[in-house]
Symmetry: C2
Subunit: 276 residues, 2 copies
DNA sequence: ATGTGGCCAGCGAGGCCAATT
DNA sequence: AATTGGCCTCGCTGGCCACAT
């Protein structure tokens, strides 16, 4: 049984990320009812969707935590927890990094360099000319935690919770319509060779920063390409067709032949509170 | 035994706020060691002190929570919890609203209108001319929570955690020096008559918004006047003279004669983790 | 020197549009 | 019409400075 993620076979590292995401999807599904009520009905007040996405992500995930490691980090990541993660390969110290996004787009996410878990290579085409670009990872592969008997290397796992919505009204409830919650597991830095061996292969794209204004570089994750590379890394909880206020409980995976599957799953809905 | 804060005598409402603050001061004291290590050593990256103050406030307070009420609100308040608060007058449903501030000033705090718990009247002097100003409270006196047998009215309690610091270095640790943690309990709206009967009496002052640019009005709390009005509502945890990395454990109160007192208190230091 | 007033800076986080394909 | 590139908006938080006392 391993305790150090650096000794894990890459397949086991992927499984750790998959298990992490599966748990987060369960937590979001169970909270999706209240999440939509709050998101849709919070009064407009400037940049409220940002803080709504952050708060709702926290409320969804905090009740699904596991064996905590008593170590905290401060910084720009919305939700971060150190914990012992149980896997078949061993009990792995992990730092979960989850970032909440609110967006009217549903095909990509923009990451700050500090949210990038792997060195990224990608092509950018402007005026028919394609050039290779590169951005170094800003997320360390692990955090070091002093411990009895040595230093623990807690593997970082990067999750993005993407609230896809549109505006509905400026004067009355509902002000917004939360349509889907996308959940992305962006591969750990050790998995670069598999997911992004070169600029032509991968799910990265030019960020939304302005070069002209010399803004800090950002980078984008494209949903469709992430899904093609690994279906379960792009989950979609949709409210479409919902009659009970909750999202559809479906987990995206692959079967033994490598085909994409959709597996319904059971869940315990957290009650939708606050209905007057 | 009351369950509705609206029926509490004002003195009991003050005691509820005092008990709330006392617990928060204890929590911050116990966490002050790690808080300073993290605050001082986090690498500069733009507006990092804001998020540091927020994260540290959360880490300090979340371990000191009490009997939670299963109700969540989303919004711009940094730390918010619904809970049952035990007082001698009854078990009172409460929504704690704590906002974190980072500042190089140590004599006042700026509040958004949405952080203002009472209607405020105050004088503004410009060019020798004094005029009365007014700003309506943006914090509701309570939040309504549907419950078995009726609607609970959870009293809001507004706390501000003010990290007073200065910059030290741009290139090496420590980057900052966290000097004091001020903790303010701003009186509930029902206490306006006592604390702010008119524009000439109170601790409010002109906010730091720009009228010229038509920014949303803000308002300031002046520490000295809050302390004069009610000494325990302005607490100061200072690192000055500290040899162990923790703040001085002193609670400010008043004796029976109304004189200000300083009471040392015992605490269980949370270990300062992460020292390499 | 301090205590107030208040303009502005910087920077997140996305909206949104334009140029391609 | 859908995809990708990227400029700019908007608002949140305080730094910081200028008077006034």
């Amino acid at each position: 049984m391993h305790q150090d993620y650096r000794l894990l076979p890459l397949d086991d590292l992927e499984l750790l990320e998959k298990q992490t995401l599966r748990m987060i999807v369960q937590a979001l599904q169970q909270y999706s009812g209240e999440a939509k009520r709050i998101f849709d009905n919070a009064p407009p007040k400037g940049t409220e969707v940002i803080v709504l996405a952050e708060d709702l992500t926290q409320y969804a995930l905090e009740v699904a935590e596991i064996y905590p490691i008593d170590r905290r980090f401060a910084g720009f990541i919305d939700y971060k927890r150190s914990r012992w993660f149980p896997t078949s390969a061993g009990l792995i110290p992990q730092v979960l990094l989850a970032d909440a996004k609110a967006s009217k787009e549903n095909n990509r996410d923009t990451l700050q360099a500090s949210q990038l878990p792997m060195d990224a290579d990608f092509n950018v085409t402007v005026d028919g000319v394609t050039t290779a670009h590169h951005l170094d990872a800003g997320v360390p592969q692990h955090m070091e935690i002093p411990s009895a008997g040595g230093v623990l290397h807690a593997v970082t796992t990067s999750i993005f919770v993407h609230m896809y919505y549109r505006d509905v009204s400026k004067i009355q409830e509902p002000y917004r319509d939360l349509k889907d919650i996308y959940v992305l597991a962006v591969p750990h830095g050790r998995l670069k060779d598999k997911y992004n061996p070169n600029a032509s292969t991968g799910f990265w794209g030019k960020g939304k920063h302005s070069d002209a204004r010399q803004e800090d570089p950002r980078i984008r994750v494209y949903f469709d390409r992430l899904r093609q590379a690994c279906p379960w890394r792009l989950q979609q909880l949709t409210y479409a067709g919902s009659t009970d206020g909750f999202t559809q409980a479906i987990w995206r995976d692959v079967d033994a032949s490598g085909f994409e599957t959709n597996e319904p799953f059971l869940y315990l809905p957290r009650p939708i509170q606050g209905e007057a």
